[in-house]
């Protein structure tokens, strides 16, 4: 209920934030939306000595379309994504996931980049990012790096940021008019973490065959799982129920769920299969312009 004490700074520019981050070293944590970090501090599961609050860095709050991708600034809230026409028209998988992240009030405060950096395997965004092949932009006083999401998500609550680096932007490939995507989440109630989440993305070629497939899973492994085997298997194939069922079997076979209060592993595998089929069905409808 009552968090431990810390030193606080609220820089007004990225440069200032990076200076501060360099100064405090490992003891510092970036405070963006704080919707995961602050509850952890209240339960005394986290006790950072320094918080660097980026909420006053207005330049980080944006969703833009740049050179074939969507750029999502580090201060973009989940609710901004829910409302964004750029996202609605530019990334169906993201648009589909956004309303199911946490609850409406948490979405008003929590940020997409913060959630991505948190690397909670029960978080929804990293499955979306893995499915669409996003990139993370990280900055430090030494400069800027662009990290593919599959290299950014390292382990359970672990990302590949180096000391002194902070996430400033997320780059999401823009859907073309033969792309579609969906995120399906089984949760017991609003605000619950996913029992299973499935992010699917499809791009069709001119003949209507699959040019790119993206599939990633939430809450069924130590990290959000990208189902590369299924993705590769689908490329060049004719999309349809049969193919999606095959992808579903691969997803169910390769995921690594544990048995817990949300159900036995067998159950979760079964839902992964069902939701993979359903999510690709929706993605296909989107790619064909049927929605």
């Amino acid at each position: 209920m009552y968090p431990p004490a810390f030193e606080y700074a609220a820089p007004e520019s990225v440069e200032e934030a990076l200076d501060r981050l360099a100064e405090v070293g490992d003891e510092g944590r970036i405070l963006a939306g704080g919707q995961s970090l602050i509850p952890m501090m209240k339960l005394r599961l986290a006790a950072p000595a320094h918080l660097i609050d980026i909420n006053e860095i207005a330049e980080l709050a944006y969703i833009r379309e740049v050179n074939g991708h969507l750029a999502i600034g580090a201060l973009t809230r989940h609710a901004d994504v829910v409302r964004s026409e750029v996202v609605a028209g530019g990334c169906a998988t993201m648009a589909s996931a956004a309303p199911w992240v946490a609850d409406p009030l948490v979405r008003n405060r929590g940020t997409v980049c913060g959630s991505v950096a948190h690397c909670d395997p029960e978080g929804d965004w990293n499955s979306v990012m893995l499915a669409v092949g996003a990139e993370v932009v990280a900055r430090s006083k030494q400069g800027e790096r662009v990290i593919p999401i599959s290299e950014f998500v390292v382990d359970f609550f672990t990302n590949s940021l180096r000391p002194g680096e902070m996430v400033t932007e997320l780059r999401v490939p823009r859907d073309d008019d033969r792309s579609g995507g969906a995120y399906l989440k089984l949760e017991r109630k609003i605000g619950d973490y996913a029992t299973v989440g499935v992010a699917a993305h499809l791009r069709l070629d001119e003949q209507g065959r699959i040019a790119r497939a993206g599939l990633a899973l939430t809450s069924v492994g130590p990290i959000n799982l990208k189902v590369t085997e299924a993705e590769e298997m689908m490329v060049g194939q004719e999309p349809g129920d049969e193919l999606f069922a095959e992808a579903a079997q691969i997803a169910a076979r390769t995921c690594e769920p544990t048995s817990d209060v949300r159900g036995p592993a067998e159950y979760k595998r079964s839902v992964v299969a069902a939701y993979t089929r359903r999510a690709f069905g929706r993605a296909l409808a989107g790619a064909r312009g049927e929605t």
Binding site: Y2, A5, R44, L186, R188, Y267
Partner: protein
């Protein structure tokens, strides 16, 4: 017999039957309610509690020196220190004892071990990290079955004469007659089901501000209390304080549902600390503390058997219960009834024989056993019979509605003596069920159920026709900790005709400030707006046992009607004096006496009230007030029929409510709007328990469900929509014919939801799924996969 109630007063007067808007709302909608945590006193200190991280272990040592040295810490309290004042243990409401702060062992995860008192709540919390406790871990017992195994580790080794983990045994009914009924049966249907551990989880957690005046020794204890008078008496007994020096004040309460009936260790520690330090001490639980340590509910492992004839008649019921009591037997329930009123489990049905046995076991879990929006285990009882009845109907090849209609107690059988000894006051079960069937189009849904679903989903229709027993007591049979279950009302009419009504019960959201004023309006014709209702301050209200078990309207409501009628009789004499007529020649209409046959010649109740202080006849005592202690002649028996239609997705096991109809009969409705609000809330809580809400433990006794991320309560998104109906069968013995309604829907609805899901899956061979009917359990039942938990 079902009747309809026509209000006798105009709407503005707000007597019985009017949906007048609530008087208490003005402060709540402006943020001006005053809840426990809103209280700030000069010099007030803050308390934080250190809790056991393990489920079972011996305490080897406690080192508090670092905590004591923390800036801002005033004191660190341990069990040893309390023991020096005889306060390390306290009595429970079921005659057991419970540790206040652990001295010998910890017996559940979350148990209170030490407390820090500091100038600031952040500092108090920080200092908990400076207390070091060495434990010798012991095996954790996480189920009552495990507790009763031979050789199980003894949880209550401190308790003299306790050689096993049995908390109590109890039985009701007639074993021989029941055996005889079963011997005659053509078919016996059985059901084993666990009504899981749950928690009332009112949105406001529990808390205390203890303010002991060091000069006078007078203790003002602000408490989130559903029963302030009983708590004052128990405080006097536990703490050894003279009762006249204790004032318990229960401020606005942010929901209770049974959670705020017991006395918790934190209350005692804060009061002891205030006494020793001489400053006010506040302790407000966090949600995690609330869920992990305070009064759980349910946790009944139930076995039921129905003896049936081939043509669909019930002959008898056997039920045996194994209850998981946690580490201390702390049920808040009437003394004589070790398993509460579970023996109401014969429900709405007419048959000759029943036998109920119950055994409680100690386990390494939090104590409690509170009646969560329930009249002492009536919820468990109702659930068992309503689940059994549905399975029985299917086994007989009958429609469950038809089976119920065939076995209901008939209207002409009331008052009805049940095989376990209850005397049902009134009822008309057939009418309620038929009305519900008509409202939901039962036959239509049965047809639609047979049609193929385009997405492969399964439709299920579930019924529950519950009967409750509420409004304890009568004093002959019912007491808690020796205190007879009466309640009281004190009514004073001021010279200007306004009034104050003081009660021993305590609203937690039920709208007492409005409904009790409406009873006065009905009886005296004083507009309800002119009647102030006061509750919660033991210095300023008459004694009572408090608000739980749907007893406020049946008991305190009756007391209010009776005292108002007594005052009306005195008012009649005053009116006669003013009108220079004989009291016998006066007629009463709401708010006014007039001379029979001369309607223009009359006086209003306001004029009479003025005369009571300004112009009373010689020989008559001045004033217009009274107090009445009501000892109910019997309990009341609200009932109803609920029908739910659900749609189950067999792929992921999720289910949702497509339609729900609830027909309730709680006798005469004082304020229909408030009654419907109570029902809607209860239906949602019933859904919560059927769908998601429970507390469980891993094999080491770690609590899963100790915060709102794990203990799931529905939001507006998950909550079903309801359609409500009513029948009115007044209670024949209650002064205004009311029965109490706050818990009906929580009691009745869980079985309806579960019956609906089982109905959808029956043809697939599914016979039972325990609550909560989580998606993975549905999937497991359909696919023959054992799922645990």
């Amino acid at each position: 017999m079902t009747t309809t109630h026509q209000p006798a007063t105009p709407f503005e007067m707000g007597g019985i039957g009017h949906s007048v808007r609530r008087k208490e709302d003005d402060r709540f909608i402006q943020g001006a309610g005053r809840y426990l945590d809103d209280i700030q006193l000069p010099g007030m200190l803050h308390m934080a509690i250190l809790r056991s991280p393990i489920a079972h272990g011996r305490i080897l040592s406690i080192d508090t020196s670092e905590a004591e040295a923390t800036d801002g810490v005033v004191a660190v309290v341990t069990g040893e220190m309390l023991a020096a004042h005889g306060l390390a243990w306290m009595p429970t409401l079921s005659g057991d004892t419970q540790a206040v702060l652990a001295t010998d062992k910890v017996r559940y995860q979350g148990q209170e071990v030490a407390a820090v008192i500091a100038t600031d709540p952040y500092v108090a919390r920080d200092a908990l990290s400076g207390i070091f406790v060495d434990y010798e871990e012991l095996p954790a017992i996480t189920s009552p079955q495990q507790a009763l195994e031979p050789g199980a580790v003894l949880i209550r080794d401190e308790k003299e004469g306790q050689t096993d983990n049995v908390a109590y045994t109890w039985e009701a009914g007639d074993k021989a007659a029941t055996d005889e009924a079963f011997a005659k049966a053509d078919l016996v249907v059985t059901l084993d089901t666990h009504y899981p551990r749950s928690h009332p989880a009112p949105l406001e957690t529990c808390g205390v501000v203890a303010d002991v005046n060091p000069a006078t020794g007078e203790a003002t204890i602000y408490l989130t209390s559903q029963a302030p008078h009983a708590h004052r008496t128990l405080f006097a007994i536990v703490a050894g304080l003279p009762e006249e020096k204790i004032r318990v004040v229960s401020p606005d309460i942010g929901g209770g549902f049974g959670n705020k009936v017991p006395i918790y260790p934190g209350y005692v520690v804060a009061t002891a600390a205030s006494l020793l330090i001489g400053k006010p001490v506040k302790w407000v639980e966090s949600r995690s503390e609330n869920l992990i340590s305070t009064g759980f509910a349910r946790d009944f492992h139930m076995h039921g058997e129905l003896a049936l004839t081939a043509d669909g008649r019930i002959l008898g019921l056997r039920a045996s219960i194994l209850s998981d009591q946690g580490a201390f037997y702390a049920d808040a329930q009437p003394t004589r009834f070790r398993a509460g009123l579970f023996h109401i489990c014969t429900g709405s049905y007419d048959f000759g024989a029943a036998h109920v046995t119950a055994k409680g076991a100690f386990t390494n879990k939090a104590p409690g056993g509170v009646a969560y929006r329930c009249s002492f285990r009536v919820t468990e009882a109702s659930y068992l019979i309503e689940r059994l009845v549905q399975n029985a109907a299917y086994e007989l090849g009958m429609d469950p509605a038809e089976f119920r209609l065939k076995n209901f107690i008939r209207p002409e059988q009331f008052p009805y003596l049940s095989p376990t000894g209850f005397v049902y006051d009134s009822g008309d079960y057939h009418t309620a069920l038929r009305k519900a069937m008509e409202m939901i189009d039962y036959e239509g849904w049965r047809r639609r159920q047979q049609e193929p679903h385009p997405e492969g989903k399964l439709i299920g229709i579930g019924i529950a026709s519950f009967t409750e027993v509420v409004g304890a007591g009568n004093s002959r049979t019912y007491d808690i900790a020796g205190l007879k279950m009466i309640d009281s009302a004190e009514l004073r009419i001021h010279p200007t005709g306004k009034a104050i009504l003081k009660l021993g019960v305590k609203s937690q959201g039920q709208g007492h400030e409005t409904t009790f004023a409406q009873i006065v309006a009905e009886e005296l014709g004083i507009p309800f707006e002119d009647v102030k209702v006061q509750e919660g301050d033991t210095d300023n209200t008459p004694y009572g046992l408090g608000t739980y078990a749907s007893r406020s309207t049946p008991v305190a409501g009756a007391a209010t009607a009776v005292v108002a009628r007594q005052i009306r009789e005195k008012a009649r004499k005053l009116a006669a004096h003013l009108l220079e007529a004989s009291p016998d020649d006066l007629e009463w209409e709401p708010g006014r006496f007039f001379v029979r046959g001369v309607p223009d010649k009359g006086v209003t109740i306001q004029e009479v009230a003025f005369a009571a202080y300004t112009n009373f006849p010689e020989g008559m005592e001045a004033g217009l007030e009274g107090v009445h202690y009501y000892d109910p002649p019997n309990m009341t028996y609200p009932f109803g029929s609920y029908i739910v239609v659900v749609e189950v997705d067999p792929e992921d096991g999720t289910w949702k409510v497509l339609d729900m109809v609830a027909v309730d009969d709680c006798g005469v409705r004082i304020n229909p709007m408030i009654v419907e609000g109570q029902i809607t809330g209860g239906l949602t809580e019933g859904f919560a328990k059927a769908n998601m809400q429970w507390i469980t433990f891993d094999e080491n006794g770690n609590c899963i469900g100790s915060n709102f991320l794990d203990y799931l309560v529905p939001t507006a998104w998950e909550a079903p929509r309801f359609r409500l109906g009513e029948t009115v069968t007044p209670s024949p013995h209650h002064p205004i014919g009311a029965k109490g309604v706050g818990e009906s829907a929580t009691v009745g609805s869980p079985a309806a939801y579960v019956n609906a899901v089982i109905d959808a899956l029956w043809s697939k061979g599914v016979r039972n799924i325990d609550m909560p009917v989580l998606p993975h359990r549905v999937w497991g039942a359909l696919n023959g996969v054992e799922v645990a938990p």
